[in-house]
Protein backbone atom coordinates (compact mmCIF):
# COMPACT_ATOMS: atom_id res chain seq x y z
CA UNK A 1 0.00 0.00 0.00
CA UNK A 2 1.13 3.53 -0.62
CA UNK A 3 1.59 6.21 2.01
CA UNK A 4 -1.71 7.81 1.02
CA UNK A 5 -3.59 4.54 1.39
CA UNK A 6 -2.05 4.04 4.83
CA UNK A 7 -3.10 7.54 5.83
CA UNK A 8 -6.68 6.82 4.75
CA UNK A 9 -6.81 3.40 6.40
CA UNK A 10 -5.28 4.69 9.67
CA UNK A 11 -7.84 7.51 9.72
CA UNK A 12 -10.70 5.02 9.28
CA UNK A 13 -9.36 2.67 11.96
CA UNK A 14 -9.26 5.54 14.46
CA UNK A 15 -12.59 7.02 13.36
CA UNK A 16 -14.18 3.61 14.01
CA UNK A 17 -12.66 3.67 17.46
CA UNK A 18 -14.21 7.09 18.24
CA UNK A 19 -17.64 6.09 16.95
CA UNK A 20 -17.66 2.90 19.03
CA UNK A 21 -16.87 4.93 22.10
CA UNK A 22 -19.89 7.18 21.64
CA UNK A 23 -22.21 4.19 21.48
CA UNK A 24 -20.71 2.86 24.70
CA UNK A 25 -20.81 6.05 26.73
CA UNK A 26 -24.46 6.96 27.09
CA UNK A 27 -23.65 10.42 28.47
CA UNK A 28 -21.99 11.31 25.16
CA UNK A 29 -24.94 10.02 23.20
CA UNK A 30 -27.20 12.23 25.32
CA UNK A 31 -24.98 15.19 24.40
CA UNK A 32 -25.69 14.51 20.74
CA UNK A 33 -29.40 13.80 20.89
CA UNK A 34 -31.29 14.90 24.00
CA UNK A 35 -29.34 18.13 24.48
CA UNK A 36 -30.07 19.65 21.04
CA UNK A 37 -33.72 18.66 21.37
CA UNK A 38 -33.86 20.38 24.74
CA UNK A 39 -32.26 23.55 23.36
CA UNK A 40 -34.72 23.74 20.46
CA UNK A 41 -37.69 23.32 22.80
CA UNK A 42 -36.35 25.83 25.35
CA UNK A 43 -35.72 28.50 22.77
CA UNK A 44 -38.93 28.02 20.83
CA UNK A 45 -41.25 27.84 23.83
CA UNK A 46 -39.44 29.88 26.53
CA UNK A 47 -37.66 32.70 24.65
CA UNK A 48 -39.60 32.48 21.41
CA UNK A 49 -42.51 34.55 22.60
CA UNK A 50 -40.27 37.39 23.78
CA UNK A 51 -38.04 37.74 20.71
CA UNK A 52 -39.32 39.74 17.71
CA UNK A 53 -38.05 38.51 14.36
CA UNK A 54 -39.53 40.72 11.65
CA UNK A 55 -40.55 38.83 8.53
CA UNK A 56 -40.00 35.35 9.98
CA UNK A 57 -41.64 33.06 12.53
CA UNK A 58 -39.22 32.66 15.47
CA UNK A 59 -38.89 28.92 14.85
CA UNK A 60 -37.77 29.60 11.24
CA UNK A 61 -35.35 32.25 12.49
CA UNK A 62 -34.03 30.03 15.28
CA UNK A 63 -33.48 26.67 13.58
CA UNK A 64 -30.59 27.70 11.27
CA UNK A 65 -28.91 29.47 14.21
CA UNK A 66 -29.26 26.69 16.72
CA UNK A 67 -28.11 24.13 14.18
CA UNK A 68 -24.96 26.15 13.46
CA UNK A 69 -24.32 26.25 17.20
CA UNK A 70 -24.69 22.49 17.55
CA UNK A 71 -22.36 21.92 14.59
CA UNK A 72 -19.73 24.06 16.25
CA UNK A 73 -20.03 22.26 19.57
CA UNK A 74 -20.14 18.83 17.92
CA UNK A 75 -16.34 18.84 18.02
CA UNK A 76 -16.16 18.88 21.82
CA UNK A 77 -15.84 15.09 21.78
CA UNK A 78 -12.59 15.52 19.88
CA UNK A 79 -11.16 17.83 22.53
CA UNK A 80 -12.32 15.53 25.30
CA UNK A 81 -11.03 12.41 23.56
CA UNK A 82 -7.63 13.83 22.68
CA UNK A 83 -6.95 15.14 26.15
CA UNK A 84 -8.01 11.78 27.60
CA UNK A 85 -5.64 9.99 25.23
CA UNK A 86 -2.87 12.28 26.46
CA UNK A 87 -3.71 11.73 30.10
CA UNK A 88 -3.97 7.96 29.85
CA UNK A 89 -0.79 7.46 27.85
CA UNK A 90 -2.56 6.25 24.70
CA UNK A 91 -0.98 9.14 22.82
CA UNK A 92 2.45 7.69 23.65
CA UNK A 93 1.37 4.37 22.22
CA UNK A 94 0.06 5.92 19.00
CA UNK A 95 3.18 8.00 18.57
CA UNK A 96 5.35 4.90 18.95
CA UNK A 97 3.48 3.04 16.19
CA UNK A 98 4.51 3.07 12.52
CA UNK A 99 1.19 4.71 11.60
CA UNK A 100 0.44 8.01 9.90
CA UNK A 101 0.62 10.31 12.94
CA UNK A 102 -2.02 12.91 12.07
CA UNK A 103 -4.57 10.06 11.80
CA UNK A 104 -4.95 10.44 15.57
CA UNK A 105 -6.54 13.81 14.75
CA UNK A 106 -8.13 13.11 11.38
CA UNK A 107 -9.75 9.93 12.71
CA UNK A 108 -11.52 11.86 15.44
CA UNK A 109 -12.53 14.61 13.10
CA UNK A 110 -13.99 12.13 10.63
CA UNK A 111 -15.98 10.66 13.52
CA UNK A 112 -17.20 14.19 14.35
CA UNK A 113 -18.61 14.51 10.85
CA UNK A 114 -20.54 11.31 11.52
CA UNK A 115 -21.94 12.57 14.81
CA UNK A 116 -22.73 15.97 13.27
CA UNK A 117 -24.86 14.19 10.66
CA UNK A 118 -26.74 12.44 13.48
CA UNK A 119 -27.28 15.81 15.19
CA UNK A 120 -28.57 17.34 11.96
CA UNK A 121 -31.14 14.57 11.54
CA UNK A 122 -32.27 14.89 15.16
CA UNK A 123 -32.55 18.67 15.04
CA UNK A 124 -34.34 18.94 11.71
CA UNK A 125 -36.80 16.29 12.91
CA UNK A 126 -37.54 18.17 16.13
CA UNK A 127 -37.61 21.47 14.25
CA UNK A 128 -40.21 20.20 11.81
CA UNK A 129 -42.33 18.82 14.66
CA UNK A 130 -42.39 22.26 16.33
CA UNK A 131 -43.27 24.02 13.08
CA UNK A 132 -40.05 24.75 11.15
CA UNK A 133 -40.45 24.69 7.35
CA UNK A 134 -37.86 24.96 4.56
CA UNK A 135 -38.84 27.63 2.07
CA UNK A 136 -36.09 26.96 -0.48
CA UNK A 137 -35.45 24.35 -3.16
CA UNK A 138 -33.92 20.93 -2.48
CA UNK A 139 -30.50 21.82 -4.01
CA UNK A 140 -30.31 24.87 -1.72
CA UNK A 141 -31.18 22.78 1.34
CA UNK A 142 -28.50 20.24 0.38
CA UNK A 143 -25.95 23.00 -0.18
CA UNK A 144 -26.87 24.40 3.25
CA UNK A 145 -26.34 21.04 4.91
CA UNK A 146 -22.96 20.63 3.19
CA UNK A 147 -21.97 24.11 4.36
CA UNK A 148 -22.97 23.28 7.96
CA UNK A 149 -20.84 20.14 7.90
CA UNK A 150 -17.90 22.11 6.52
CA UNK A 151 -18.25 24.66 9.33
CA UNK A 152 -18.48 21.85 11.90
CA UNK A 153 -15.36 20.29 10.39
CA UNK A 154 -13.45 23.57 10.77
CA UNK A 155 -14.44 23.81 14.43
CA UNK A 156 -13.42 20.20 15.09
CA UNK A 157 -9.88 21.39 14.38
CA UNK A 158 -10.33 24.20 16.90
CA UNK A 159 -11.39 21.59 19.46
CA UNK A 160 -8.49 19.33 18.47
CA UNK A 161 -6.12 22.15 19.30
CA UNK A 162 -7.89 22.82 22.61
CA UNK A 163 -7.74 19.10 23.50
CA UNK A 164 -4.00 18.92 22.79
CA UNK A 165 -3.28 22.13 24.69
CA UNK A 166 -5.48 21.92 27.80
CA UNK A 167 -3.97 20.37 30.89
CA UNK A 168 -6.79 17.87 31.49
CA UNK A 169 -10.05 16.66 29.93
CA UNK A 170 -11.97 18.81 32.43
CA UNK A 171 -9.93 21.87 31.48
CA UNK A 172 -10.44 21.28 27.78
CA UNK A 173 -14.17 21.13 28.35
CA UNK A 174 -14.06 24.37 30.32
CA UNK A 175 -11.95 26.16 27.68
CA UNK A 176 -14.21 25.00 24.88
CA UNK A 177 -17.36 26.24 26.52
CA UNK A 178 -16.15 29.49 28.04
CA UNK A 179 -14.55 30.59 24.78
CA UNK A 180 -17.17 29.40 22.35
CA UNK A 181 -20.39 30.07 24.24
CA UNK A 182 -20.12 33.88 24.23
CA UNK A 183 -19.00 33.83 20.62
CA UNK A 184 -22.03 31.85 19.53
CA UNK A 185 -24.41 34.06 21.53
CA UNK A 186 -23.01 37.40 20.36
CA UNK A 187 -24.21 36.62 16.84
CA UNK A 188 -27.40 36.54 14.82
CA UNK A 189 -28.05 32.93 15.91
CA UNK A 190 -30.76 33.57 18.54
CA UNK A 191 -31.78 37.22 18.28
CA UNK A 192 -31.63 39.80 15.47
CA UNK A 193 -28.36 41.76 15.73
CA UNK A 194 -30.32 45.05 15.53
CA UNK A 195 -31.76 44.41 19.00
CA UNK A 196 -28.29 44.43 20.65
CA UNK A 197 -26.70 47.58 22.17
CA UNK A 198 -25.00 49.67 19.49
CA UNK A 199 -21.45 48.96 20.76
CA UNK A 200 -22.06 45.23 20.49
CA UNK A 201 -23.60 45.27 17.02
CA UNK A 202 -20.35 45.64 15.03
CA UNK A 203 -18.83 42.73 16.95
CA UNK A 204 -21.85 40.55 16.28
CA UNK A 205 -21.95 41.54 12.61
CA UNK A 206 -18.33 40.57 12.01
CA UNK A 207 -18.57 37.37 13.98
CA UNK A 208 -18.06 34.34 11.69
CA UNK A 209 -21.05 32.72 13.41
CA UNK A 210 -23.26 35.52 12.18
CA UNK A 211 -21.92 34.99 8.67
CA UNK A 212 -22.55 31.26 8.90
CA UNK A 213 -26.01 31.63 10.45
CA UNK A 214 -27.03 34.16 7.79
CA UNK A 215 -25.78 31.81 5.07
CA UNK A 216 -27.78 28.93 6.56
CA UNK A 217 -30.90 31.13 6.76
CA UNK A 218 -30.48 32.13 3.14
CA UNK A 219 -30.21 28.48 2.09
CA UNK A 220 -33.05 27.16 4.31
CA UNK A 221 -35.62 29.96 4.76
CA UNK A 222 -34.78 32.16 1.79
CA UNK A 223 -33.53 35.33 3.53
CA UNK A 224 -31.27 37.59 1.39
CA UNK A 225 -27.85 35.92 1.11
CA UNK A 226 -25.51 38.80 0.30
CA UNK A 227 -21.90 37.54 0.43
CA UNK A 228 -22.55 35.36 3.44
CA UNK A 229 -22.40 32.01 1.66
CA UNK A 230 -19.00 32.67 0.10
CA UNK A 231 -17.68 34.31 3.21
CA UNK A 232 -18.69 31.38 5.38
CA UNK A 233 -16.85 28.97 3.05
CA UNK A 234 -13.83 31.25 3.29
CA UNK A 235 -14.07 31.41 7.10
CA UNK A 236 -14.29 27.60 7.30
CA UNK A 237 -11.23 27.13 5.11
CA UNK A 238 -9.24 29.76 7.01
CA UNK A 239 -10.14 28.30 10.43
CA UNK A 240 -9.25 24.81 9.18
CA UNK A 241 -5.90 25.95 7.78
CA UNK A 242 -4.87 27.73 10.97
CA UNK A 243 -6.06 25.19 13.51
CA UNK A 244 -5.07 22.06 11.57
CA UNK A 245 -1.53 23.44 11.34
CA UNK A 246 -1.48 24.31 15.05
CA UNK A 247 -2.96 20.96 16.05
CA UNK A 248 -0.50 18.87 14.04
CA UNK A 249 2.31 20.93 15.51
CA UNK A 250 1.01 20.27 19.03
CA UNK A 251 0.51 16.59 18.28
CA UNK A 252 4.17 16.12 17.44
CA UNK A 253 5.11 17.65 20.76
CA UNK A 254 2.46 15.98 22.82
CA UNK A 255 3.68 13.89 25.70
CA UNK A 256 1.63 12.14 28.31
CA UNK A 257 1.10 14.23 31.41
Amino acid sequence: MSAVQYAVSDTFVLATRSIKRIRRQPDLLIGFTVQPIMFVLLFVYVFGGAIETPGLDYVDFLMPGIIVQSMVFGGFVTALGLSEDLKKGLMDRFRSLPMWGPAVLSGRILADIGTNIIQLVVMFTVGIIVGFRFSTSAPEVIAGIALLLLFGYAFSWVFAFIGLTASSPEASNAYGFTILFPITFVSSAFVPVETMPSWLQPIAEHNPFTTMVNAARALFVDTPAGNDIWLSILWSLAITAVFATLSIWRYHRAVAR
Partner: protein
Protein backbone atom coordinates in the same frame (compact mmCIF):
# COMPACT_ATOMS: atom_id res chain seq x y z
CA UNK B 1 28.52 1.17 16.89
CA UNK B 2 28.34 -2.59 16.99
CA UNK B 3 25.82 -4.63 15.03
CA UNK B 4 24.90 -7.08 17.80
CA UNK B 5 23.47 -4.32 19.99
CA UNK B 6 19.70 -3.90 19.72
CA UNK B 7 19.74 -0.75 21.84
CA UNK B 8 22.74 1.52 22.06
CA UNK B 9 23.00 5.08 23.34
CA UNK B 10 25.89 7.45 23.65
CA UNK B 11 25.94 10.51 25.86
CA UNK B 12 22.17 11.05 25.91
CA UNK B 13 21.17 14.34 27.45
CA UNK B 14 17.74 15.82 27.99
CA UNK B 15 16.82 18.88 29.97
CA UNK B 16 13.40 20.17 31.03
CA UNK B 17 13.89 23.77 32.01
CA UNK B 18 16.22 23.68 34.99
CA UNK B 19 15.98 19.95 35.52
CA UNK B 20 18.52 17.75 33.81
CA UNK B 21 16.50 14.56 33.30
CA UNK B 22 19.36 12.80 31.52
CA UNK B 23 22.92 13.97 32.03
CA UNK B 24 24.88 11.83 29.56
CA UNK B 25 23.59 8.28 29.49
CA UNK B 26 25.35 5.37 27.76
CA UNK B 27 23.40 2.13 27.46
CA UNK B 28 23.85 -1.12 25.58
CA UNK B 29 21.52 -4.07 25.21
CA UNK B 30 22.68 -7.06 23.18
CA UNK B 31 20.24 -8.67 20.78
CA UNK B 32 18.04 -11.13 22.65
CA UNK B 33 18.94 -9.87 26.11
CA UNK B 34 17.04 -8.02 28.82
CA UNK B 35 18.51 -4.74 30.00
CA UNK B 36 17.05 -3.53 33.27
CA UNK B 37 17.07 0.19 33.91
CA UNK B 38 16.81 0.44 37.67
CA UNK B 39 16.24 3.64 39.55
CA UNK B 40 13.85 5.56 41.78
CA UNK B 41 11.09 7.90 40.60
CA UNK B 42 12.55 10.89 38.83
CA UNK B 43 15.84 9.15 37.97
CA UNK B 44 15.35 9.63 34.21
CA UNK B 45 14.15 6.16 33.24
CA UNK B 46 10.98 7.26 31.48
CA UNK B 47 12.79 10.04 29.66
CA UNK B 48 15.28 7.49 28.32
CA UNK B 49 12.44 5.24 27.12
CA UNK B 50 10.68 8.18 25.47
CA UNK B 51 13.80 9.06 23.54
CA UNK B 52 14.40 5.44 22.49
CA UNK B 53 10.80 5.07 21.29
CA UNK B 54 11.06 8.33 19.23
CA UNK B 55 8.56 10.23 21.41
CA UNK B 56 11.17 12.78 22.50
CA UNK B 57 14.28 14.15 20.86
CA UNK B 58 17.46 14.14 22.88
CA UNK B 59 19.18 17.51 23.39
CA UNK B 60 22.55 15.85 22.87
CA UNK B 61 23.96 12.41 22.18
CA UNK B 62 22.74 9.64 19.93
CA UNK B 63 20.68 6.49 20.20
CA UNK B 64 20.21 3.54 17.88
CA UNK B 65 17.45 0.98 18.18
CA UNK B 66 17.40 -2.18 16.04
CA UNK B 67 20.17 -0.63 13.99
CA UNK B 68 18.48 2.70 13.24
CA UNK B 69 19.05 6.17 14.61
CA UNK B 70 16.02 7.28 16.66
CA UNK B 71 16.19 10.85 15.39
CA UNK B 72 17.09 10.41 11.71
CA UNK B 73 15.27 7.14 11.10
CA UNK B 74 12.34 7.42 13.50
CA UNK B 75 9.88 5.78 11.10
CA UNK B 76 12.10 2.69 10.69
CA UNK B 77 12.58 2.47 14.45
CA UNK B 78 8.80 2.59 15.02
CA UNK B 79 8.33 -0.38 12.68
CA UNK B 80 10.62 -2.46 14.89
CA UNK B 81 9.58 -1.61 18.44
CA UNK B 82 6.75 -2.21 20.88
CA UNK B 83 6.04 -0.02 23.90
CA UNK B 84 4.14 -0.87 27.07
CA UNK B 85 4.24 1.00 30.29
CA UNK B 86 2.99 2.13 33.61
CA UNK B 87 -0.09 3.77 32.12
CA UNK B 88 -1.66 0.64 30.66
CA UNK B 89 -2.33 2.67 27.54
CA UNK B 90 -5.41 0.91 26.30
CA UNK B 91 -8.81 2.28 25.31
CA UNK B 92 -11.25 1.53 28.11
CA UNK B 93 -14.24 1.81 25.83
CA UNK B 94 -13.05 -0.93 23.53
CA UNK B 95 -12.90 -4.63 24.32
CA UNK B 96 -9.55 -6.34 24.77
CA UNK B 97 -9.94 -7.84 21.32
CA UNK B 98 -10.82 -4.50 19.71
CA UNK B 99 -7.82 -2.82 21.35
CA UNK B 100 -5.37 -5.38 20.01
CA UNK B 101 -7.04 -5.41 16.60
CA UNK B 102 -6.81 -1.62 16.38
CA UNK B 103 -3.11 -1.68 17.23
CA UNK B 104 -2.56 -4.45 14.67
CA UNK B 105 -4.25 -2.41 11.97
CA UNK B 106 -2.15 0.61 12.88
CA UNK B 107 0.94 -1.59 12.41
CA UNK B 108 -0.66 -2.26 8.98
CA UNK B 109 -1.15 -5.98 9.48
CA UNK B 110 -4.37 -6.11 7.48
CA UNK B 111 -7.85 -6.78 8.84
CA UNK B 112 -7.75 -10.59 8.98
CA UNK B 113 -4.18 -10.87 10.21
CA UNK B 114 -4.81 -8.24 12.89
CA UNK B 115 -7.81 -10.14 14.22
CA UNK B 116 -6.01 -13.50 14.20
CA UNK B 117 -3.00 -12.04 15.99
CA UNK B 118 -5.27 -10.37 18.57
CA UNK B 119 -6.98 -13.70 19.36
CA UNK B 120 -3.62 -15.44 19.60
CA UNK B 121 -2.26 -12.86 22.04
CA UNK B 122 -5.42 -12.90 24.18
CA UNK B 123 -5.05 -16.66 24.51
CA UNK B 124 -1.39 -16.50 25.45
CA UNK B 125 -2.02 -13.80 28.06
CA UNK B 126 -4.84 -15.75 29.63
CA UNK B 127 -7.46 -13.26 28.46
CA UNK B 128 -9.31 -15.40 25.91
CA UNK B 129 -12.54 -15.41 27.94
CA UNK B 130 -12.40 -11.68 28.69
CA UNK B 131 -11.51 -10.70 25.12
CA UNK B 132 -14.98 -9.51 24.16
CA UNK B 133 -15.59 -7.52 27.33
CA UNK B 134 -14.86 -3.80 27.51
CA UNK B 135 -11.48 -3.05 29.08
CA UNK B 136 -13.12 -0.74 31.63
CA UNK B 137 -14.49 -3.89 33.32
CA UNK B 138 -10.96 -5.39 33.64
CA UNK B 139 -8.83 -5.58 36.78
CA UNK B 140 -5.53 -3.69 36.97
CA UNK B 141 -3.53 -6.80 36.20
CA UNK B 142 -5.68 -7.63 33.16
CA UNK B 143 -5.24 -4.11 31.79
CA UNK B 144 -1.48 -4.39 32.05
CA UNK B 145 -1.58 -7.71 30.24
CA UNK B 146 -3.59 -6.18 27.40
CA UNK B 147 -1.12 -3.31 27.33
CA UNK B 148 1.82 -5.71 27.15
CA UNK B 149 0.04 -7.75 24.47
CA UNK B 150 -0.49 -4.54 22.46
CA UNK B 151 3.25 -3.95 22.47
CA UNK B 152 3.78 -7.42 20.96
CA UNK B 153 1.18 -7.30 18.20
CA UNK B 154 3.67 -6.88 15.37
CA UNK B 155 6.25 -9.26 16.92
CA UNK B 156 8.77 -6.41 17.22
CA UNK B 157 12.41 -7.39 17.76
CA UNK B 158 12.82 -4.75 20.48
CA UNK B 159 10.29 -4.15 23.24
CA UNK B 160 10.32 -1.31 25.78
CA UNK B 161 8.56 -1.89 29.07
CA UNK B 162 8.35 1.22 31.21
CA UNK B 163 7.63 0.13 34.79
CA UNK B 164 5.33 -2.65 33.62
CA UNK B 165 4.28 -3.78 37.11
CA UNK B 166 4.20 -0.53 39.09
CA UNK B 167 1.14 -0.49 41.30
CA UNK B 168 0.20 -4.14 40.77
CA UNK B 169 -0.32 -6.73 43.50
CA UNK B 170 2.15 -9.60 43.77
CA UNK B 171 0.01 -12.14 41.95
CA UNK B 172 -0.50 -9.88 38.95
CA UNK B 173 3.20 -9.01 38.94
CA UNK B 174 4.17 -12.66 38.77
CA UNK B 175 1.68 -13.21 35.94
CA UNK B 176 3.20 -10.33 34.01
CA UNK B 177 6.75 -11.51 34.71
CA UNK B 178 5.89 -14.88 33.21
CA UNK B 179 4.62 -13.13 30.09
CA UNK B 180 7.85 -11.15 29.82
CA UNK B 181 9.95 -14.28 30.31
CA UNK B 182 8.09 -16.07 27.54
CA UNK B 183 8.80 -13.12 25.29
CA UNK B 184 12.51 -13.22 26.05
CA UNK B 185 12.57 -16.96 25.29
CA UNK B 186 11.44 -16.11 21.76
CA UNK B 187 14.54 -13.96 21.28
CA UNK B 188 13.06 -10.50 21.75
CA UNK B 189 15.35 -7.82 23.14
CA UNK B 190 13.74 -6.11 26.11
CA UNK B 191 14.56 -2.84 27.78
CA UNK B 192 12.77 -2.77 31.08
CA UNK B 193 12.62 0.11 33.51
CA UNK B 194 11.73 -0.60 37.09
CA UNK B 195 12.02 0.71 40.58
CA UNK B 196 11.67 -2.79 41.99
CA UNK B 197 14.92 -4.54 42.70
CA UNK B 198 13.39 -8.00 42.75
CA UNK B 199 11.97 -7.36 39.29
CA UNK B 200 15.35 -6.39 37.85
CA UNK B 201 16.97 -9.32 39.65
CA UNK B 202 14.49 -11.79 38.21
CA UNK B 203 14.16 -10.52 34.64
CA UNK B 204 17.27 -8.64 33.59
CA UNK B 205 20.48 -10.10 32.16
CA UNK B 206 22.24 -6.85 32.79
CA UNK B 207 21.22 -3.97 34.99
CA UNK B 208 22.04 -0.29 34.64
CA UNK B 209 21.46 1.58 37.88
CA UNK B 210 20.36 5.12 37.11
CA UNK B 211 20.01 8.02 39.51
CA UNK B 212 19.62 11.76 38.80
CA UNK B 213 20.02 11.17 35.06
CA UNK B 214 23.31 9.29 35.24
CA UNK B 215 24.16 5.58 35.09
CA UNK B 216 25.98 4.99 38.35
CA UNK B 217 26.64 1.26 37.93
CA UNK B 218 26.20 -1.35 35.25
CA UNK B 219 26.61 -5.12 35.20
CA UNK B 220 24.88 -8.42 35.86
CA UNK B 221 22.95 -8.75 39.06
CA UNK B 222 25.78 -10.87 40.52
CA UNK B 223 28.45 -8.39 39.48
CA UNK B 224 26.58 -5.57 41.17
CA UNK B 225 26.18 -7.61 44.33
CA UNK B 226 29.87 -8.45 44.37
CA UNK B 227 30.62 -4.77 44.04
CA UNK B 228 28.88 -4.18 47.34
CA UNK B 229 30.63 -7.02 49.09
CA UNK B 230 30.30 -10.76 49.43
CA UNK B 231 28.23 -12.99 51.68
CA UNK B 232 27.56 -12.26 55.30
CA UNK B 233 26.36 -14.01 58.41
CA UNK B 234 23.34 -12.71 60.25
CA UNK B 235 23.11 -13.81 63.85
CA UNK B 236 20.33 -13.05 66.31
CA UNK B 237 21.50 -13.19 69.89
CA UNK B 238 19.26 -14.39 72.71
CA UNK B 239 20.59 -11.66 74.95
CA UNK B 240 20.69 -8.53 72.82
CA UNK B 241 22.92 -6.72 75.33
CA UNK B 242 25.88 -8.96 74.59
CA UNK B 243 26.52 -7.66 71.08
CA UNK B 244 29.88 -6.15 72.01
CA UNK B 245 31.17 -9.44 73.35
CA UNK B 246 29.91 -11.27 70.27
CA UNK B 247 31.80 -8.87 68.00
CA UNK B 248 35.00 -9.55 69.90
CA UNK B 249 34.44 -13.29 69.58
CA UNK B 250 33.86 -13.14 65.81
CA UNK B 251 36.38 -10.51 64.64
CA UNK B 252 38.91 -13.16 63.60
CA UNK B 253 36.31 -14.79 61.36
CA UNK B 254 35.09 -11.58 59.73
CA UNK B 255 36.29 -9.82 56.61
CA UNK B 256 36.03 -6.31 58.04
CA UNK B 257 34.37 -5.30 61.27
CA UNK B 258 31.09 -6.98 62.25
CA UNK B 259 28.20 -4.65 63.03
CA UNK B 260 25.43 -5.04 65.56
CA UNK B 261 21.99 -3.53 65.59
CA UNK B 262 19.08 -4.45 67.88
CA UNK B 263 20.76 -7.69 68.90
CA UNK B 264 21.33 -8.77 65.28
CA UNK B 265 24.92 -9.20 64.27
CA UNK B 266 26.09 -8.74 60.67
CA UNK B 267 29.41 -10.37 59.90
CA UNK B 268 30.97 -9.83 56.46
CA UNK B 269 32.71 -12.96 55.18
CA UNK B 270 35.50 -13.67 52.75
CA UNK B 271 34.66 -17.41 52.62
CA UNK B 272 31.29 -18.93 53.23
CA UNK B 273 32.42 -22.55 53.59
CA UNK B 274 32.30 -23.62 57.23
CA UNK B 275 31.45 -20.12 58.40
CA UNK B 276 28.28 -21.06 60.26
CA UNK B 277 29.92 -23.92 62.19
CA UNK B 278 32.92 -21.76 63.06
CA UNK B 279 30.76 -18.89 64.31
CA UNK B 280 28.61 -21.18 66.42
CA UNK B 281 31.74 -22.75 67.94
CA UNK B 282 33.26 -19.37 68.81
CA UNK B 283 30.07 -17.94 70.31
CA UNK B 284 29.52 -21.13 72.28
CA UNK B 285 33.08 -20.88 73.57
CA UNK B 286 32.36 -17.35 74.79
CA UNK B 287 29.11 -18.51 76.38
CA UNK B 288 26.86 -16.39 74.14
CA UNK B 289 23.49 -18.01 73.25
CA UNK B 290 22.18 -17.78 69.67
CA UNK B 291 18.53 -17.43 68.73
CA UNK B 292 19.01 -17.71 64.93
CA UNK B 293 21.87 -17.79 62.46
CA UNK B 294 21.83 -17.57 58.66
CA UNK B 295 24.06 -16.96 55.67
CA UNK B 296 22.92 -14.02 53.52
CA UNK B 297 23.83 -12.87 50.00
CA UNK B 298 23.64 -9.15 49.36
CA UNK B 299 20.43 -8.00 47.68
CA UNK B 300 20.02 -5.31 45.10
CA UNK B 301 18.59 -3.22 47.94
CA UNK B 302 22.04 -3.26 49.48
CA UNK B 303 23.53 -2.39 46.09
CA UNK B 304 21.26 0.56 45.70
CA UNK B 305 21.81 1.90 49.16
CA UNK B 306 25.57 1.52 48.74
CA UNK B 307 25.65 3.27 45.36
CA UNK B 308 23.19 6.09 45.88
CA UNK B 309 23.19 6.62 49.61
CA UNK B 310 19.41 6.32 49.66
CA UNK B 311 16.95 3.44 49.42
CA UNK B 312 15.50 2.41 46.08
CA UNK B 313 11.90 1.88 47.02
CA UNK B 314 9.82 5.02 46.75
CA UNK B 315 8.31 6.27 49.98
CA UNK B 316 5.11 7.27 48.30
CA UNK B 317 3.93 6.28 44.91
CA UNK B 318 3.60 9.65 43.19
CA UNK B 319 2.72 10.16 39.55
CA UNK B 320 5.92 12.00 38.77
CA UNK B 321 7.71 9.77 36.32
CA UNK B 322 10.47 11.66 34.59
Amino acid sequence: MSAECAVETEGLRKRYGDVEALAGVDLRARVGSVLGLLGPNGAGKTTAVRILTTLLRPDEGSARVAGFDVVKDGARVRERIGLAGQYAAVDENLSGLENLEMVGRLYHLGRKAARARARELLASFDLADAGDRLVRTYSGGMRRRVDLAAALVARPPVVFLDEPTTGLDLRSRIGLWEGIEALVDEGTTVLLTTQYLDEADRLADRIAVIDHGVVIAEGTSDELKTQVGGDRLEICLEDRDRGGEAITALTALADGRPAVENGTLRVPLSRRTGAIAEAVRRLDGAGIAIDDISLKQPTLDDVFLELTGHAAEPESNGDESR
